[in-house]
Symmetry: C2
Subunit: 336 residues, 2 copies
DNA sequence: CTGAAAGCGCTAACAA
DNA sequence: TTGTTAGCGCTTTCAG
């Protein structure tokens, strides 16, 4: 069913139909006729065809490293909430942590003529930057700060520092960290920086051996904790780059009969569900993922609307959520 | 930049350009010229325009109730993995558990002329069925079985039954269940059916009071457990409709000093990360979410390719994962 | 307010 | 293999 065919059925001209769907001027009579015909035929104009003339797709490309990561999912939810309200649709690519696919997807979005792109970044190579610079639609980066681009990011360093300080204030003398790849500037490097900075300010010497590198999984956190405790000098407090890693570390401690928080304190970052039901519950810094997604979408839409290319950077702050793993109380009450 | 402009720059005809991007016949010379021009201009054909003539969008609409639910995210990952490989893109709508939005999205996809739709179903109203019947592209439903449509679903009843039987065999005399809304035929009704069926076969009388209804959240699970234990006859084993609910219930038990598994056994369903690090770790039935997503995508693509409309139903079975909450050992080893 | 007609950027049928 | 020409389904002038 196309517009001509439908126009014939409705007994009006093609233009009238087009106007009906584009809030143009139209007499009540014709509106009625068209509405009745829609009822009958279920006709709806093809958006693709519409876009060829329009140059507007109402499509936003979103690139995600790993959908089943709680933080990514939350960001995406935020993006989706805002976009939907504005009538934009979300073209989603899950790269499964394959950096090449990020670049491919960017190219794809150029072809698809999306109105804008939101990129949940992890690791940025020169290739990324090259492709990003070639994009002629607005791009917003979430979770990372990349010079020259609009970004929504979290205060990773601040969160890591605050948590480390918390543990030191509670008597931690030998802090260790389970970090993630330093190629990831936010979850990786920035959080280690915060850790170091806290040590620095507390007059504790930072030794490279006090950092273990882990993946973003429970198992990897478990293994990293094991390595940490197999060293001659055992840590008495551990900052983990994510709550999932912390949950894995807690699992190891339970198995190895290392008491938390008495023998070792533990912190995660992100405020994932898993940290709340882990045993003991894990102190963390809440990062505002959903808000980040919403702000990214807002920023994108306003860039699209005003056709400007002003670079904006927004940093979202954290909240400390103290739980049992640093001697806090278990926070049972309602929470979301 | 459009095809004519680009053709001029490349020094070839528009058709040559079109052929280049549609693996038609083309001499090496022209290919070279075109490639060089692409290098210079970054030209890429507009897919939207392409689709108006093509009638193929290479777009699949995916409707999800809640992206930040681990099970939904896993299904979507599976879908994405298969679709990407075949060059299809994923138009994602997160309905945030708003059933009306499912219907709206279906309409949206009709307008957008997607090649097919995958619907992660929860609750189906008559309106759903009406709209679904009007879709003229293939639709695959995941997680629910709806008469007349192709579905990928899980053996919810079997999983619930097996877990309940497990607890009864381990000495459970007063089984209770924390279920979710019975409007949800799979996570809700089917799992209660399995529970009942196990009771039946074990000669235990099923009383309505032994089922509490909860949301899909930790807090809601916590509250439901509290209600269960405020009754005169306390349960000695509880089947929870999801692992998240079970984790919430475990939280309550810990707080109320009810020992798991000694005072009460606990099971969840789904094999979510949260159940593994909860304390104690929670026995569950693994449902193959990612596989479900992959199979749904495969089923959709083969329907699209063969232009058939044969209805197919695939049921994926479960695996029991026994953990501490029913007296099993904690399963630490590598797992994904 | 309305319809005819000329686009939008691309593909596909056709003759060369 | 090529270029020409007619579509694809919709929007947007432009007279009326």
């Amino acid at each position: 069913m196309n517009i001509s065919e439908f126009a014939k059925i409705a007994g009006v001209s093609r233009s009238a139909v087009s106007r009906y769907f584009n809030d143009g001027y139209l007499s009540e009579d014709k509106k009625k006729q068209i509405e009745e015909a829609i009822e009958k035929t279920g006709y709806a104009p093809s958006l693709a065809a519409r876009n060829t003339s329009n140059r507007v797709t109402k499509l936003v490309g979103v690139i995600i490293p790993k959908l089943s990561s709680e933080s990514c999912a939350r960001v995406t939810e935020g993006i989706s909430a805002v976009l939907d309200k504005e009538g934009y649709k979300l073209l989603l690519v899950n790269t499964a942590n394959d950096h090449r696919r990020e670049v491919e997807s960017l190219e794809l979005f150029r072809k698809n003529r999306v109105d804008g792109v939101i990129l949940l970044g992890t690791v940025f190579t020169d290739l990324h930057k090259a492709v990003l610079n070639k994009m002629h639609v607005p791009v917003i980066i979430v979770g990372q700060q990349l010079k020259g681009f609009s970004c929504i990011c979290h205060n990773d360093t601040g969160a890591a520092k605050a948590l480390t300080k918390l543990m030191i204030e509670k008597g931690g003398k030998r802090p260790a960290m389970i970090a993630v790849t330093q190629d990831d500037l936010s979850a990786g490097k920035a959080r280690v920086d915060g850790f170091k900075s806290a040590l620095d300010e507390s007059g504790i010497k930072f030794g490279e051996k006090s950092v273990e590198i882990s993946d973003f999984t429970i198992d990897s956190g478990y293994m990293a904790a094991k390595r940490l405790f197999s060293r001659p000098l055992k840590p008495d407090c551990i900052l983990c780059a994510t709550d999932t890693i912390a949950a894995g570390a807690a699992l190891y401690c339970r198995e190895a009969n290392i008491k938390i928080p008495d023998d070792v304190m533990l912190c995660g970052i992100g405020c994932a569900k898993i940290g709340r039901t882990a045993y003991p519950s894990i102190t963390t810094a809440r990062l505002h993922y959903k808000t980040a997604g919403m702000e990214a979408a807002n920023m994108l839409l306003s860039t699209v609307k005003h056709r400007d290319s002003i670079q904006r950077v927004m940093e979202l702050d954290y909240d400390i959520v103290e739980r049992e793993s640093t001697g806090g109380t278990s926070d049972i009450g309602i929470w979301e």
